[in-house]
């Protein structure tokens, strides 16, 4: 069978040992300045013996990490349609903006008048995120989406406490993000799972039945993890509010709705954003991210302090009042990530941000339409930024979703999110983002069609995949049963 030739699907893979398996005693990969002061001694009892670290030259170190990088795949390498993760292109100018010497050198505890540039960025970014979400008050401290969720739950708890209302539960739909239950549990809330309806979205009756005066509110991901817009959001919010609860919006999927949906009008009280998703900051192989939290005017006094404010021509930190839930970060959050998102918003402007959302949805809808004959759709409704297929058809060939994912690797693609959301059997969740062009999407579709054909004709090809990577399939059971977490 002829195979589609994909640029970048294969390359040189060099071997490289672990850091401490190379180098030689006496090598050094970094300058230590000479001393211009007399040597001082610490009491010997406080000092350590020699540290067991490798000793490497600068070349050793550079080649080590260059080779490691070549075993990796990033958005810069190719299409990365990982559902719910919004792997859009990370603009290079943002890196330069974050590295602006005076901003990168700023110490976080300097007096306000000495760091006006940093405070201006924070103040303006807060106002941009408020404009984008419709929620007027913003903290930039949370270092990741789950950290934003936790901060939001701290605010739920503080708000209820201020009203002397004791709440012990929280509603979490089965189409919400996976971190929601753990974030709520940290604040003492017991998650009450809510099943989505036959159309993949929440039904008003389910909320009506579950919401009571022992429930703090609801954590709702909208668009949800099936890529569907929760069309009943306003009615749901009204029910929750009527019973004295709050509505948390998980804004991880904001990339679908910038300039199109107003979270405040939807009835959302608290919402976090993932700057590393919607606002193009690089994921760095797991972080650092940033998860700013936006809240309604009523909840502003509960936000963590400090926040940047503007007094005439001066920017300063406002230290909040006694209602604030306190700090959630040692300083002001992952500021270098905030700077990248700031640069992105300034580069895009309102019109292009809205266009980005429209094109993100267009790309997903196009993939959904083109692949509907190839893989079974989990829910056949108008999708937003991502579409979800099931493994119903693959099962006939005794091929799993995992096998398809691993075969995609051999074809030069990062696989979509798999086995999530849990409500879809063997889920394949595709989020192309707006930065993939039609030709690349067409090629991705062609490759997936080919893989589904291979599943019928040559399933072993899928089961053995990947074959072109640094390593073949890895034994995860062995890793968990006999943990080896530290080199010897």
């Amino acid at each position: 069978m002829s195979e589609v030739i994909i640029p970048g699907a294969s390359g040189i893979i060099q071997n490289e040992p672990l850091l401490w398996e190379k180098g030689g005693k006496g090598r050094r990969g970094m300058c230590v300045p000479g001393s211009d002061v007399p040597a001082a001694e610490l009491p010997a009892a406080l000092c350590r013996g020699e540290l067991d670290f490798p000793e490497l030259s600068e070349v050793d170190v550079v080649r080590h990490y260059t080779r490691l990088s070549q075993w990796n795949f990033g958005v810069d390498s190719g299409m990365y349609p990982l559902g719910s993760c919004t792997m859009k292109y990370n603009p290079k100018i943002n890196e330069k903006a974050a590295a602006t010497p005076a901003l990168a050198a700023a110490h976080p505890m300097l007096p306000d008048e000495l760091v006006q540039g940093s405070l201006q960025v924070m103040y303006e970014l807060q106002s941009y995120l408020a404009a984008i979400t419709g929620l007027p008050a913003v903290t930039l401290q949370p270092a990741a989406g789950a950290h934003g969720e936790l901060t939001g739950m701290l605010i739920f708890a503080a708000w209820h406490k201020s009203r002397n209302s004791r709440r012990t539960k929280i509603l979490i739909p089965d189409t919400a993000h996976g971190t929601n239950p753990a974030s709520a549990a940290l604040c003492g809330y017991k998650p009450v799972p809510i099943r989505s309806g036959p159309e993949g979205i929440l039904e008003v009756a389910a909320i009506e039945a579950a919401m009571d005066e022992e429930t703090a509110g609801i954590m709702i991901t909208n668009p949800n993890t099936l890529g569907l817009f929760e069309t009943r959001i306003r009615e749901i919010a009204a029910i929750v509010h009527a019973k004295g609860g709050l509505v948390y919006g998980d804004g991880a999927n904001m990339n679908a709705i910038m300039g199109i949906i107003d979270a405040r009008r939807c009835g959302v009280d608290v919402l976090h954003l993932n700057l590393h998703k919607t606002f193009s900051t690089p994921h760095g192989g797991g972080g650092p991210g940033a998860g700013p939290l936006c809240v309604s005017e009523e909840l502003a006094r509960f936000l963590p302090a400090p926040r940047a404010v503007r007094d005439g021509d001066l920017y300063r930190l406002d230290w909040g009042g006694s209602d604030s839930v306190g700090r959630v970060h040692a300083f002001h959050g992952n500021v270098s990530v905030l700077l990248r998102a700031y640069a992105y918003i300034r580069s895009m402007g309102a019109e292009n941000l809205k266009k980005a959302s429209q094109l993100a949805v267009l790309n997903a809808a196009y993939i959904k339409e083109r692949l509907r004959g190839t893989l079974p759709l989990a829910y056949d409704r108008p999708c937003m930024h991502e579409c979800v297929f099931s493994d119903a058809q693959l099962q006939e060939h005794k091929v799993t979703t995992l096998d398809v994912a691993k075969r995609l690797i051999d074809c030069g693609y990062h696989p979509p999110t798999i086995y999530f959301p849990l409500v879809v059997h063997g889920a394949i969740m595709i989020e192309p983002t707006e930065t993939e062009c039609k030709a690349d999407i067409d090629q991705f579709i062609a490759v997936l069609e080919q893989i589904v054909r291979e599943a019928a004709e040559n399933p072993e090809l899928l089961r053995q995949a990947p074959l072109r990577t640094k390593v073949r399939r890895l034994d995860e059971t062995l890793a968990a049963r006999q943990p080896c977490l530290c080199g010897s």
């Binding site: 990969g29 000793e55 990796n72 976080p108 984008i132 789950a146 971190t179 797991g286 696989p415 530290c486």
Partner: protein, 444 residues
């Protein structure tokens, strides 16, 4: 817009395939009442050159810029960063990858984190380190929660008052809705935590001590460990300046059960406090109670060495609300930066750099002492120390500021009893001339 690749023709073709007349029609499932009214009030788009100019303007608004000498540490340190780190860590394969959920195409990230875990464990003298969490403050908060999980029935934790004030604030935020109690241990005359209270506390799940502490003082971790353990608590050693452990006996060797703190010193700029790096390590027996991600070594189908995320049954996506933590990311590229920094220095380089920091700080300390300032705490310090000036230091501080020297951090905002006293930090980046200038200003 250069990030949006679609031509008008392609948009038309794609809309035709999905049978929609316009981009607006894609949102037909959204009720009108949920829609954004009007345009988002954002400034107009800038091209690359305008943005560069704009960033330069913001930089110019910084009265204290990268050329200034800032003698403040307090959890955020100025150390030289080798150009190799900037060059290598901007590689897109590392920087633009997601969490390594597909290990076969993320061996670079995974081996890099495994190496970070290993070097971190060795530095801290612990059995196992995780793949990092947000920052030093959340690391300590998570360690306290971990202590409470391990101890099960206990409801109190103790934290030294010499732990970074912001770290203590974050711990209080985390604990506020839980009903757990946080008790503070006082600081003695010598600047070290006074352990007298420990014996009488009873029922404490964990005790957190920072060393070097917020005042720069090196705590007697070895002396404290048996007292903490006698109280039936886990011993958490916290740090904000990991470079100290290039020279100091490791927390593990001193008897700590958990060692955690901030790793920014290892190759990351101060950047107004972030991106930060929460380093977190513990003894083997507690690994299943540890928060955060872990990378483990395993084998592939052909028996070749490889690395995967592991022990995820502790984590939120499997355990949901019973997870050890809600954390589902790590500081990713920052871990690779830290291990590249540690590997570049090696054992001897780290020790030499630590010694240089200590010597420079001692030079300023004795200079200020000779100029009449009182060194507030008698216990040994690393690269930070607290002094009290004979008169009002503010005029001298202002004069130094005009020369772009920031002479320390006034402590009144954090400790009323230390109002008017200054915390100084000296690293390898400050030359003798600057230190002499500060002393001369005090003398004048």
């Amino acid at each position: 817009m250069r990030y949006l690749p679609h031509t008008d023709e392609e948009i038309r073709d794609m809309l035709a395939v999905i049978r929609r007349g316009s981009l607006d029609e894609l949102f037909c499932s959204v009720p009108d009442s949920c829609r954004y009214e009007g345009d988002m009030p954002l400034p107009p788009a800038m091209d690359e050159w305008q943005l560069t100019e704009h960033m330069e303007k913001l930089a110019a608004a910084m009265a204290i810029d990268d050329k200034a000498r800032v003698l403040i540490g307090a959890g955020s340190y100025h150390h030289h960063i080798p150009e190799t780190i900037r060059a290598i860590m901007s590689r897109g394969e590392l920087l633009t990858a997601y969490t390594p959920y597909q290990p076969e195409m993320a061996q670079g990230t995974l081996q890099g984190i495994y190496e970070y875990q290993t070097l971190t464990s060795r530095l801290l003298g612990m059995d196992v380190a995780n793949a990092s969490i947000y920052d030093g403050a959340s690391a300590m908060a998570e360690a306290l929660l971990m202590g409470l999980r391990v101890a099960k029935k206990k409801t109190r934790v103790a934290v030294s008052a010499a732990v970074h004030p912001h770290y203590r604030q974050v711990a209080r935020s985390y604990l506020a809705p839980t009903g757990y109690e946080l008790v503070e241990l006082p600081v003695g005359e010598d600047g070290r935590t006074d352990p007298a209270l420990l014996a009488s506390l009873g029922d404490v799940a964990a005790v957190a001590i920072q060393s070097p502490n917020f005042f720069g003082v090196i705590e007697d971790l070895e002396g404290l460990a048996p007292l903490v353990h006698d109280a039936g608590a886990l011993f958490i050693a916290v740090f904000s300046e990991p470079l100290a452990y290039g020279l100091l006996k490791s927390p593990g060797a001193c008897g700590a059960d958990i060692a955690c703190g901030e790793g920014q010193s290892f190759g990351m700029p101060r950047s107004f406090g972030g991106a930060a790096l929460g380093m977190f390590a513990c003894r083997n027996e507690f690994v299943r109670n540890m928060p955060g991600r872990l990378v483990g070594q395993t084998k592939d189908l052909e028996g070749k060495r490889g690395f995967v995320l592991t022990l995820s049954t502790r984590e939120q996506h499997i355990r949901r609300e019973k997870a050890t933590s809600n954390i589902c990311s790590n500081q990713g590229i920052c871990t690779l930066i830290a291990s590249m920094y540690m590997a570049s220095l090696g054992a001897s380089g780290l020790a030499e750099l630590a010694r240089l920091n200590h010597s420079k700080a001692e030079y300023l300390k004795s200079g200020l002492h000779a100029a009449g300032a009182k060194v507030v705490f008698s216990a040994p310090t690393f690269n930070e120390f607290v002094v009290e000036f004979p008169g009002d230091f503010r005029p001298a501080y202002q004069r130094l500021l005009e020369r772009k020297i920031v002479a320390g951090l006034e402590l009144g905002r954090f400790y009323t009893e230390h109002a008017g006293r200054y915390l100084f930090c000296v690293t390898e980046t400050t030359d003798r001339k600057t230190l002499d200038a500060i002393v001369a200003e005090v003398n004048s």
